[in-house]
Structure formats: C-alpha cells, structure tokens
C-alpha cells in the first residue's frame, strides 16, 4: 500500500516545522510508519520552505515530488501556487490566503500574481482557500497561523480531533496551550 503524502509549505519563520512535528506525533500514535523531511540552514532565512510528512504501513523515501501529494497545506498564497504541481490527481490543496511578498516583489522587480486561486481552479485543482491569519490573530498571535491550518487539515484527514487537542496540549508550552486550542478550533470548525 502506498503512503499518504502531505506537504506543508510556506515562508521561512512561519512555523511549518512545528506543524509537521504535531502531525507526526499524532500519526505515530495511530500506529503508522511515519517520515518527516525538513530543511535547515540557509533556506530558513525568509526563503520558500517545504516540509514533507508521509505515513502508511511502510514509508521509504522521505520526499514528495510532482504529482505525489495527497494534501498540500500552504501557509501563504504564492507558495501554494509554487508547489501545486506536486499535488496528485484528486489531491487537495489547503491554503491560507495571506500574501507575503518575496524580495523580487518588494524590490519592484516582479509583481505578486493576482490570479493565483483562479489559475489553480482553472487547472481543476481542488482548493480550500481561506484566511487563516485573522482567526490566528483572534486566538492571540499571528504565530498561530500554523495551528489554524492544521485544524483545517485535521477536518479533511478525518482524524479524531481529540487526538489533535491532546497533541497540542503536550507539544506546546503551557502558556500557549489555550491560544493554540482556540486556533485549532477555528481552523477545524471555520
């Protein structure tokens, strides 16, 4: 049996690593073989970052390539477009609609594309796009964007939300538990 492949993509510093850690923890608890692949170092400095989470009976390669992802969770809209080609036929793309301009856009050398969601839909990509920033801010911090998005992924994956809530409680510092639970609920039920 092939593994289920989830890509978590975003901009360095958005908290993609914590999201993958949480997801990995839950999947092990469910008895799966799990691999999580991340990149450290130079790419973290505000660059485009990708993390791969794969699970199933047995997982070999830790990486996900073109046409292999069952789910892509994007923390930023341009990154959703950048990695959408990795989606499997019939896969699902979950994206935050927040825009973070990359350096070529801030410096005026390029334009931030305005038609990202339309282009994806025109290609027949199954997109769940929503604003994850506002509920994160309502929960207490923009840093909770990652947990809002994990909440939305949880809804699609059909994993019991109690498992997620437990994982949050045991993975984040006590003072941030309430904020993250709120953020998760916002993504899950929103």
């Amino acid at each position: 049996m092939k593994s289920t492949n989830i890509m978590i993509v975003g901009v360095g510093g958005q908290g993609t690593l914590l999201a993958s850690k949480l997801l990995g923890k839950i999947l092990i608890g469910l008895g799966y073989d799990v691999k999580v692949s991340e990149l450290h170092g130079m790419s973290q400095r505000g660059g485009s970052v990708t993390t791969y989470v794969k699970y199933g009976e047995k997982v070999y390669s830790p990486v996900i390539e073109s046409g292999e992802a069952d789910y892509i969770v994007s923390f930023e809209k341009l990154e959703a477009a950048r990695w959408a080609h990795c989606l499997k036929t019939g896969g699902k793309l979950i994206t935050n609609t927040q825009e973070i301009s990359p350096m070529p856009v801030t410096s005026g050398a390029a334009e931030y594309p305005t038609d990202i969601l339309d282009t994806l839909s025109a290609r027949g990509v199954d997109v769940d796009a929503f604003d994850a920033l506002t509920p994160a801010l309502e929960a207490g911090s923009q840093k909770a964007v990652n947990i809002v998005l994990m909440g939305r992924l949880a809804r699609h994956l059909g994993i019991d939300d109690a498992l997620w809530l437990d994982a949050i409680k045991t993975s984040v510092a006590p003072k941030f538990v309430e904020m993250n639970l709120k953020a998760f609920e916002a993504g899950y039920n929103g």
Binding site: M42, S43, G67, E68, T89
Partner: protein, 576 residues
C-alpha cells in the same frame, strides 16, 4: 514506544547508548544537530570547538586517554580536519573514535558538492553510512565496535536528506564501556618517520581485514528476490530505490560501509542477477570500484553526478512512468534574505555605495551578495576573505584603498585570525571588517569563543576580539555600530586611507537573539514620501512600495532605523 527522530538526533541517541563520553564539533549544516542533540545528554561532555581540526584533535585526545569520543562536521569541515585525519589512520585509537561528516548533495546550504567518501579512500579509514534514523542509531554502536576491534578511527557519513528526515527510532539503555587506561606507546602514537614507516604496512593489513569484515559481517545488506535486476546503492538512495522497486522487482545490495568495499559480496551479487545498476549520488565511487573488479555494472550512463536524487530520478532512469502532474508555474522566486533588522545590512549598504571590492566569507553575511546590496566579490571558504585580501592587495598597487574583507565573529575564530596574522607579518595595508553579531548565525545560533557562553549556554571565557587583533600585530582596531550609517562610512574612509593594516569590528548582536530587545516598528508618513525609492536599496524585507509610496510591514520591522537615515525627506519615523 518508538519516537520520531531526525537522522542527526538518532546519531546523538546512538552516541549516548554506546557510551560516548566526549563530543567536540564545529557547527555546519547539515551536521549541526548531531552535537546539539548530544548536548541534551548530561552524561556526554559536549563542546563547540573553534574549528573542525581542533574538534577532531580534541576527540583524538579523549580517545588516546581511553574514552569513546566523537566529532561532527559538514563535508567542507572535513577539509579543515583532513590533516589530523590522515595520520590518525596510522596511529589508530585507544578509546573508540567516530568522525561524523555530513554531505550536502544539491547544496541546500553549502558552497560545493564534494563527496566525503573520497576522504575515506584516501585516508584508508572505514566509512559507514545509514539510510534512515534507526539505522543511524544502530550504526553508531557498530562503528565504535569496528573502531576498537580494528584499531582505527571511523568515518560516519550522512547526507542532508537522511540527516534532516525524521523516522521512527527504538531506544536502548546506555552502556558505558570500561575505559582503556592510557599507556605510553611511542611507536603507536608518535608519528615521526621511523615509527610511521612501521605503521603504514599495519594500515594496509587493516584494510584487508576490514574487507573481510565488509564481506561477512552483514553491514552490507541484500534484500529482494529478483534474478533480473540488481541495484547497488547506499544511504538515502536506498529509500528512493525501494520506493520505486518492490522486493520482487529488484534485488538490492545496500552498502552500509563505503570503505573498504566488499569485493567478494559485490562479485557474488553481480553473478546472481542479469543486470546490475549502481545508484549513488555525487561521485561514481561504487561503480568505479565494481568496474576495477571487472564487473559489468551500469550507473553514470543513467545517473548524473550533480545534485540530489529522488524516487522520480530513479524511476526516470529506469524508464518507469511518472505520476501525472502539470508543469511548475513560473512565479516570482522567494530566495532566502537577510532578516529585517539584520545588523549586517547597514554596513553592506555603505560598502555597496562606496563601490568597494569585497572579499567575503561564510555566514549569514554571504547573503549580502544578493541584489540590491550586491556587495560581495568572492566567497570561497571559511577564512578566505582575510588571506585572500592580503594576496589581492599585495599583487595590485592601489587596491588597498578600495578593497576590504568581511568575516563574521565565529568564522574569524575558525580560520580568519591566521590570515590576519599573515597581514601583519607579511605587511599589506589591508582593511579587515569583522562582523561581530555575537553568535554563529547561519547554522541557527551556536555559541563560539567570542560570545562568553559555551555550547550548553553556561558562562565561559570570552575572547576579546580587539585585544586579539592587537596581539596579532594590528595597531589600528576600531569598533563601530552597523546601524549607524555615518559611523560606518567614516570608519571605512579613514581605515582605507590609513597607511597601515586595520581592523574594523562592526558590533551588534543578531536581531533574532532572544536577548535582543527591539524598539517598535518604524512607519512611513506617506505625505512626505516622494517615491525616490532610495530606501529600497537596503533590500529590507519590511520595506515595499504600495501605490507609489514606501510602506513598512509592521509585523516584520524591528525598528533598526537604518532606512530612516537614508530618507532625504524625513518620511520614515520611529514608533507607531
């Protein structure tokens, strides 16, 4: 229960279980976490050495004293540690000794793509490589056993994808081996010609014994049942191969020990299948070895020596169908950038405006090479800025007035100070800028001898950079604040004009350090902004243009105020 661990974390677990007592390393992606995770075990003495050569020599000393020891570095770090490496092969060890080396195919965070297996062959030292985290943990035990049984240091290679992928790991208890008391044995440890000549035959004999071990021990594993296709591979490539071919589609020989390779096993394996393909990233080391044995194998006819492989690289090479996917879109790139508030930015802006030739070095400030700062002319290796500047200036009359070296605090301690010593000794009128951000930044905030803290964050001796530069023979040493553009310009102008060598220490802690408290974000008074775009020359991720006016991202800006100094119309203000 099994735990998810990075390859590097699993290595640390292996070191703990196998009774390692001392680890000395220099940080470098993708090796850094080996030492950081090892430091979480209070039983193991862990330290950041000033460079990889020192790290390996520290590990040698601990081994000599009879304790299991290790050091970790990235591939280019092994170049620095190569001097002790080659002769350690002759002396052998007392307590087990492992040298971890992390290769970075595809250069995610490196300046070249060298294959460290070449060092194992050249130094005649055995080398192991795991294909996932639990194998990495178990292999640390094996590596120590081999080190002690065959009286040799052991190289342990890991590549980025295995180092930075998490997979499930079992855990065992720590067993501390009985230390082997140190005994004076000059013929073993004093490598002068008379003794070294006696040791070289021992090394050659050891390689023969290790070849037997490679053939018989099971360190090189065969799986699968096919008699049609055989694949010889190792490390992370094993995972790509197994993702592509099931057990009955391909018989796989997974090389767990790269040096020496198992001649007999390779012959038997090749005889057992109709077609054999070697799948190895970077250099064709296994393939060439097979061919030297007269075996008919393929490899480079199907695979490139450049970059990382993947399951699709393997599938493509064997003509297998790839999953349906549309082509990637052409979109604005998102390269890594210097952070908002990075203390290097102001200084680089001034350097760029002064049109200086800049010999650069390895660290976050390497990002100063990108547009719009476009401030670097060369980046070679750790320390090369300082020594290179001397050569540039010495060979080119007048160059001393418009050429500088930039090097970080940690890189200066690593190998910049010897270059500075050379500037003083061999006399060029060079100007060296030490960018002291009080931390090793690029690899994720490691302490170093200038920070006043050790690896575990405990207070430690703090090297006084000014005093050090004076001691190395430089009279003109001054300290500037890189957030102050006028101060940067004045210092550069004066020191470049001076008729003796100088050091400018640009000092301000990395803005990402928890200890750094930043003022509120800056903001733009739109009515005053004349759209001159001068502030955009900083390449600050907080600054952009909207509707013809500069705007500052309030969530990113750290209030450093460098942009406000540039604005001729006083449009950028502090606070909200």
């Amino acid at each position: 229960m099994k735990r998810l661990m990075l390859g590097n974390e699993a290595i640390a677990r292996g070191l703990y279980e196998a009774g390692c007592e001392i680890v000395s390393s220099y940080p470098g992606t993708p090796s850094t976490e080996i030492t950081e995770f090892t430091a979480k075990y209070a039983e193991i003495d862990c330290e950041w050495a000033p460079n990889e050569k020192v790290a390996l020599e520290v590990a040698f000393g601990a081994s000599l004293a009879g304790h299991r020891a290790a050091c970790a570095m990235k591939h280019v770090g092994l170049n620095v540690a190569a001097d002790p490496l080659f002769t350690l092969s002759y002396t052998g060890i007392n307590g087990g000794l492992i040298i971890f080396v992390a290769d970075d195919p595809a250069m995610h965070s490196s300046q070249n793509e060298q294959d460290s297996r070449n060092y194992a062959i050249a130094s005649k030292i055995p080398m192991f490589e795991p294909s996932d985290s639990d194998e990495a943990r178990r292999m640390v035990h094996t590596a120590y056993e081999v080190s002690e049984k065959f009286d040799t240091p052991v190289l342990f290679r890991i590549c980025t994808r295995a180092a930075h992928s998490q997979s499930l790991v079992s855990e065992e208890e720590r067993i501390l081996p009985t230390p082997v008391p140190y005994e004076k044995k000059p013929a073993k440890y004093v490598m002068m010609p008379g003794y070294a000549k006696l040791k070289h035959p021992v090394v050659e004999e050891r390689t023969l014994k290790l070849t037997d071990y490679a053939n018989e021990s099971g360190i090189n594993e065969i799986s699968g049942t096919s008699s049609e296709l055989g694949i010889i591979t190792s490390g992370i490539c094993y995972q790509y191969v197994r993702e592509t071919f099931s057990e009955d589609e391909a018989k796989v020989l997974k090389i767990g020990m790269h040096n020496p390779l198992p001649d007999e096993l390779l012959r038997d394996f090749c005889a057992s299948v109709k077609r054999v393909v070697v799948v190895e990233e970077l250099d064709a080391i296994i393939e060439k070895h097979c061919k030297s044995l007269g075996l008919d194998v393929e490899g480079r006819n199907l695979f490139s020596p450049i970059g990382e492989y993947s399951q699709q690289t393997v599938a493509k090479a064997f003509g297998k169908a790839l999953p349906d996917a549309h082509a990637p879109e052409t979109l604005p790139a998102r390269p890594p950038v210097m952070c908002s508030g990075c203390p290097h930015r102001g200084l680089f802006y001034v350097i760029s405006k002064m049109k200086l030739t800049v010999l650069g070095d390895i660290g976050c400030y390497t990002l100063g090479a990108q547009k719009p700062l476009d401030a670097l002319d060369s980046v070679l290796c750790m320390g090369a800025s300082v020594s290179g500047l001397h050569g540039f200036v010495k060979s080119t009359p007048g160059a001393e007035k418009k050429t500088v070296a930039v090097i970080g605090d940690s890189t200066f301690m690593h190998s910049g100070m010897t270059g500075l010593c050379n500037i003083a000794y061999n006399g060029t009128n060079s100007t060296v800028l030490i960018l002291d951000n009080s931390i090793t930044g690029m690899t994720g905030h490691q302490q170093n001898p200038t920070t006043g803290f050790n690896l575990r964050g405990e207070p430690a001796a703090k090297i006084d950079l000014e005093a050090l530069c004076h001691a190395l023979g430089i009279n003109r040493v001054r300290v500037i604040d890189p957030y102050n553009l006028d101060e940067c310009k004045t210092a550069l102008t004066e020191e470049l004009a001076a008729d003796e060598p100088s050091v400018i220490i640009s000092r301000r802690p990395c803005v990402l350090l928890k200890s750094v408290k930043t003022p509120p974000a800056m903001h733009v008074e739109s009515d005053k902004c004349r759209s001159c775009r001068r502030c955009m020359g900083l390449g600050c991720p907080s600054l952009s243009f909207k509707d013809g006016k500069a705007v500052i991202d309030q969530t990113l800006c750290t209030g450093c105020g460098v942009c406000a100094q540039l604005c001729a119309f006083d449009a950028i203000k502090e606070g909200n």
